[in-house]
């Protein structure tokens, strides 16, 4: 009887998770290009795909770039998100309503649409950003190309991603802040603790579980982010010198029609994300047990 009760979920998980993962692993062990795609049948080649990826210097450069990119994005998102949440607690009700509404609007914007709007705003020839900065006498931004170097390309992508990720973090942290027991804060204040001390020793410890989960989620999202870098920088501008992991995976797998190699890269990515999140997940589990 217990097996019958658990059967539906086992079947569903097997279908939506088990089979694709099995297929991915199988694909990563095969030569599977356009010819094999048309035949609907790959050729088993063992670990060759993994070997060739791990011996590709592009893979290691891309990995390093993606890690730096992820750290920068997650840090910015978390710090700014928490700051906005702390601000939300202090402002008057109508300001809070306005800010929350603004955040929800940002959140509800589909990434592809956001990318298009940003791309128009920052267009070298007709973008409003260059126009405004020049008119405001910030400097001569006439026909300034915001996508000239890899660094400036990723500054734009980071701005867009952090902008899009802030609402989720800010609203969740704000909700969690309402769980901070008021009497604890009051007691700390009576004992002479200043704002910073209260934040460090009362508020943040209470927030820790939520912050841990948000950070893990952000790491997973930002490490594998594809839409923003691929579309904002442009399909025609993706090169070995500015790949992120997901773009590298897309170009190798889909662009070059080498699905076996693409599958190998995606398994490596999965392993890396799992390794990066394991610290957080373990602490999260420990926090869960303590409660």
């Amino acid at each position: 009887m217990p097996y019958a009760l658990v059967a539906p979920i086992v079947v569903v998980l097997g279908a939506i998770l088990g089979y694709p993962v099995y297929y991915l692993v199988r694909l990563s062990l095969e030569k599977y290009g356009l010819f094999e795609l048309i035949q609907h049948h790959g050729t088993y080649i063992g670990l060759h795909n993994f070997g060739s990826v791990l011996h590709d210097s592009v893979f290691w450069h891309t990995l390093l770039r993606t890690v730096v990119f992820t750290v920068a994005n997650v840090t910015l998102t978390m710090v700014l998100g928490v700051l906005i949440a702390l601000l939300l607690v202090r402002v008057s009700t109508w300001v809070r309503l306005l800010v929350t509404a603004g955040l929800v609007l940002v959140w509800s914007m589909p990434p592809v649409v956001a990318v298009q709007v940003w791309s128009w705003m920052t267009n070298v020839q007709n973008g409003i950003l260059n126009y405004l900065l020049t008119e405001l006498h910030v400097g001569n931004f006439f026909q300034h190309n915001w996508y000239l170097t890899t660094f400036s390309q990723y500054s734009m992508v980071t701005t867009l991603i952090v902008w899009g990720a802030l609402p989720f973090v800010a609203i969740t942290v704000y909700a969690a802040l309402s769980q901070v027991p008021h009497e604890l804060v009051e007691a700390a204040q009576i004992d002479g603790a200043r704002a910073w001390r209260v934040l460090k020793d009362v508020t943040l410890p209470v927030l820790t579980p939520v912050l841990l989960i948000l950070t893990s989620l952000s790491i997973i999202w930002d490490f594998g982010v594809f839409t923003q870098p691929y579309l904002l920088i442009g399909p025609g501008q993706q090169t070995t010198s500015n790949y992120l992991m997901s773009v590298y995976l897309y170009v190798e797998g889909y662009g070059q029609t080498n699905f076996g190699r693409g599958a190998a890269i995606s398994i490596l990515m999965l392993a890396i994300v799992a390794a990066m999140s394991v610290v957080y997940v373990r602490r999260m589990l420990r926090v869960g047990e303590e409660q």
Binding site: L37, N126, N145, V210
Partner: protein, 416 residues
């Protein structure tokens, strides 16, 4: 409450880990619907020609409807691959002539050698396009149209600058552009020529003009030749020309954002170098002063070799409507259709339809990419664009950038 937040977040975390792969799916074609994939060029430039072919086909095939789906050049191959995986390919697909070889070699298209005679002018098809549709002496595509590249310019500005004749040599053209640029200095952001530095069709025209090349096939292996003496000469001349006539901010633009003709229509440039149909979109204000000539070579009196782009129409091997697909292609490449395409600034698919139009004259001297199975991977890997951005921005010297690109091209072409 607190645990609920945690639970929701934990669930989201679990989903986040899972959501690593995604698949694409298409709708299965209904019975008696012919699915045709054309590029957006047709949608923007000659929708009436498409409509006419559809009516002709539907009239001769009662009960059939044609469903034309317009595709972008940047991702149509990835979408096509997805339909192959799902056994749901279109019945007709437009392919760029540089994209054909890999797909023909892999068996993606139906062999239509025996059906050749049912297409208009098929004995006079352009050699370049026929070659791009042929693999191991078998025909896998029908030539659709070709396009050479010409200079589209503002005759009023050239006249105002005192330029009476169209330039006969590259250095003359460069001097003319500099002159126009000086004259129009008061127009903010004015560029004498607007192309986009990463437009590799332009840059490689210079390479071929100096007898350079991209890659050659020797002893069963591809060898990259962009770093050969002649190719370097061409690239160096290209950089000089670019520096003299175009703003540095366009060094890493590929001419799709913004489109060169958009800049033209805004009055911010005196000339574009691109397909002859650019006249479509240079704006009402300049319609009367939009003129064209053939890009001159560094050798006076000669044209610069231009990229002979073009498209072919193929029937995917998995299509179950092969006969209807071929009938539609025959309607779409009829003499009437091809003449209508010609009127829009394209080169028709057969030599007997050629005229003395600027486009047809430009096609007299042309170059083409190496016919290697993996050439399309060089395009998809943006190897040429990277090289151009590097050498134009000064990030790498011309020689160094060409060496890197040449190695990458050889490596890509030789991949099994």
């Amino acid at each position: 409450m607190r645990y609920r937040i945690l639970a929701v977040l934990a669930a989201a975390l679990a989903l986040g880990v899972v959501a690593a792969t995604a698949g694409a799916s298409g709708q299965r074609a209904q019975a008696n619907t012919l699915t045709v994939w054309l590029q957006v060029d047709a949608q923007n430039g000659w929708p009436n020609v498409v409509a006419a072919a559809n009516s002709a086909f539907e009239a001769s095939h009662p009960g059939w409807t044609v469903n034309v789906e317009y595709q972008q050049w940047t991702d149509h191959l990835q979408k096509f691959d997805a339909t192959i995986a799902g056994n749901d390919t279109p019945d007709v697909i437009e392919m760029g002539n540089t994209e054909m070889t890999k797909y023909m070699a892999s068996g993606a298209f139906a062999n239509i050698t025996a059906d050749k005679s049912q297409f208009a002018n098929s004995s006079k098809w352009l050699e370049g396009l026929t070659a791009s549709s042929t693999y191991h002496n078998k025909l896998y595509g029908v030539p659709y149209y070709a396009g050479s590249r010409v200079i589209t310019y503002r005759s009023d500005l050239f006249a105002k600058a005192g330029i009476k004749k169209v330039p006969k040599s590259l250095s003359q053209f460069q001097a003319d552009l500099v002159k126009v640029g000086k004259m129009e200095k008061h127009v903010k952001g004015f560029a004498p020529l607007y192309v986009g530095g990463e437009d590799w069709y332009t840059a490689l025209g210079f390479v071929f003009d100096y007898n350079g090349s991209i890659a050659t096939y020797k002893h069963g292996k591809w060898i990259g030749t962009l770093d050969s003496k002649n190719s370097i000469k061409g690239l160096t001349r290209f950089k000089q020309f670019f520096d003299a006539t175009q703003p540095k901010s366009t060094a890493n633009l590929d001419g799709s954002n913004p489109y060169p003709y958009t800049v033209f229509s805004q009055g911010k440039t005196a000339a574009n170098y691109g397909p002859a149909w650019y006249t479509c979109c240079t704006g009402k204000k300049y319609a009367k002063v939009t003129k064209q000539f053939v890009m001159p070579s560094h050798v006076a009196g000669q044209p610069m070799p231009g990229f002979l782009g073009g498209s072919d129409l193929s029937v995917p091997a998995q299509s179950s409507n092969k006969a209807e697909a071929l009938a539609w292609i025959a309607d779409f490449t009829s003499t009437t259709s091809e003449k209508a395409l010609q009127a829009k600034g394209n080169i028709p698919n057969a030599t007997n339809l050629l005229t003395n139009a600027v486009n047809d004259r430009a096609a007299a001297k042309s170059w083409f990419v190496p016919q290697a199975t993996n050439w399309v991977n060089v395009e998809n890997g943006n190897i040429l664009k990277t090289m151009l951005a590097q050498l134009l921005s000064g990030q790498l010297s011309v020689t160094k950038a060409a060496e890197v690109a040449s190695q990458n091209i050889a490596q890509t072409l030789n991949q099994s």
